[in-house]
């Protein structure tokens, strides 16, 4: 039985309560699938970031940009753990370097999409009326752009002016923020009806501060979940465009570029070591990002019991 003194101490102990974010983190840590996915993603990210340092240990030909006629199409062996492709480049090394590009495109494009979408959506939702009308019609316009055609044309126009990779990131980012803007706007519209927004105005917060400190933290959970899903789809977009030959320039390895060699029937049927590794890593990465998104959704939703 507890003596009176310990009960007093127990009451005194929780001096600082858990913030809603800390509660969400605790919930997230308990989600096994999401934690495994997080670990996988962190592992992949670290490996790709370390690619230049790891390359010399992975294969006898660490340079992934040079064509090596002497070592074309070698199946996996003790020299090349995953074999070499039709230009004689080590697949494993390219897989690591390719991950850098795929993840970089995914991350940067997502960051751009979320920033633009949140900015437009929150301003439209908060001010309403005329501002809302103008911004949302503009959003509709952007959403109506035929994505593929625009990417291909802009990529061609901007090629050579900006580094090929960043052309892709900017083009994807500029064309895809519409959905996020709509989502954020609808969330802000619902959230701003709460009296704490009126209260914030009446205690002298400027509109910018109300959006930043009161509205956004309360819609951030939705934005974060959306961001993970967009991250996954951005990686797919990059791969699809690169596969078609309109994405990352051919010389730079990316998972999509590596996959594009599978459009030769000979490679597809007879040399699976060339396209299987990027396909598997790509699938697993997207899957884990989606699991992370799902886990965040549960963790950030105060009503979910998991």
């Amino acid at each position: 039985m507890a003596s009176p003194s310990t009960t007093i101490e127990q009451q005194k102990k929780p001096e600082r309560s858990l913030s809603p974010w800390q509660i969400a983190r605790k919930k997230y840590m308990k989600n096994k699938l999401a934690m495994i996915s997080t670990m996988f993603l962190v592992f992949v990210t670290i490996m790709t970031l370390l690619a230049p340092f790891l390359a010399p240990y992975l294969s006898p030909i660490p340079d992934i940009s040079k064509v090596n006629i002497s070592s074309m199409n070698i199946p996996p062996n003790s020299d090349h753990y995953l074999g070499t492709d039709k230009a004689g480049r080590d697949v494993l090394t390219r897989l690591f370097y390719g991950g850098r590009i795929s993840l970089l495109v995914g991350f940067s494009a997502t960051l751009m999409v979320i920033t633009l979408g949140t900015l437009v959506g929150s301003i439209a939702g908060f001010f309403g009326g005329f501002v809302d009308n103008i911004l949302m019609r503009f959003t509709d316009l952007v959403l109506n752009f035929p994505f593929l055609v625009f990417v291909i044309v802009l990529n061609t126009i901007l090629y050579g002016i900006i580094d090929g990779l960043w052309v892709l990131i900017i083009v994807i980012g500029v064309l895809s923020w519409g959905g996020v803007a709509r989502l954020v706007r609808s969330k802000v519209l619902a959230e701003k009806e709460n009296e704490y927004i009126l209260a914030a105005l009446s205690i002298g917060c400027s509109p910018a501060k109300v959006i930043r400190k009161h509205l956004l933290p309360n819609v951030l959970s939705t934005i974060i979940v959306q961001a993970t899903l967009i991250f996954a789809s951005m990686i797919v977009v990059e791969s699809a465009l690169s596969y078609l030959g309109f994405g990352v320039p051919q010389a730079t390895p990316s998972w999509g570029n590596m996959l594009s060699s599978a459009n030769e029937p000979d490679v597809l049927q007879g040399k699976p070591w060339i396209w299987m590794p990027p396909a598997i890593v790509l699938t697993l990465t997207i899957l884990s990002v989606n699991f992370i998104g799902e886990g965040l959704k549960d963790a950030l939703n105060p009503k979910s019991l998991r």
Binding site: P20, Y196, A199, L201, S202, I203, G204, K213, H214
Partner: protein
Amino acid sequence: MTTRDFVQERIDSLEEREVLLDVQNLKTYYPVTGGFFKRVLGHVKAVDDISFTIRRGETLGLVGESGCGKSTTGRTILRLAKPTDGKILFNGKDITKVSGKKLQQARRDFQMVFQDPYASLNPMQMVGDIIAEPILNYEKRNKKELEKEIKALLTRVGLPEEAYYKYAHEFSGGQRQRIGIARALALNPKLIIADEPVSALDVSVQSQVLNLLKELQEEFDLTYLFIAHDLSVVKHMSDRIGVMYLGNLVEVASNKDLYREPLHPYTQALISAIPEPNTEIRKERIVLQGDVPSPQNPPTGCPFHTRCPMAMEVCSQKKPPLKEVRPGHHVACVLY
């Protein structure tokens, strides 16, 4: 000194004080739009030409049924809703038209306590930050000192100091309302607009919060505009009471006069509806017929004539102005 003498003295002393808030012919209309081009089809006349004054240190109660515009009045004075017409003078300064930075500065002197304690506190903010925010909006402060100050404020409104580190969801409705009151007090405002501060609370908690508000008024020399629909709550709190109907102020009188001798037929009906705890006394209840007309299309003449038991021919033609029929007792009715 008996209680009555005390009350009388308070009223006398209030009459000598200067006017803090002067509302003149205030109108707040909300446009009703429709169609593809958002044509203005009409206006919801939420507040339709009301005038009143509040003296420093006084509590003006504002009663009326839901939808009569009492909350809109409060919000318009704070400029959270846009006034369509009229003037709001605060301490002699016209605040009807100010905007931007100046409005932000003006808001320092009047604060609001909100109706719903569950929606009026940001769920993502620590209680300490909620209360510190108004101060930090206007001044740069030393963190340690500010924390001390806020903890003192928390103690003053009846919360433990540890509440500083907690979040709104960890408190009950009454406690949350205390946090809301502490936030309103943080800037040392002159006027507090209390928009139905207890209507969302348990009856047992209501009286605690009301008494807290009264104590704070004494201590900080606060002026209240107290909005409520509960007549007994208003009676407990107010020095003077204004009765609103359909966006209009139909009667303004001192607390005592209004309950003892209501003049406007609407006020009479309202007061007859207060439940009598003594079952021996049989009260005659005035039951009003029909519904409140739409504020989008209010009746011509006196807004109450469609339901008034004493309505006459003239009532539907001319809107009676609010006039002083006895010292300090204003009524808008042709009968007087």
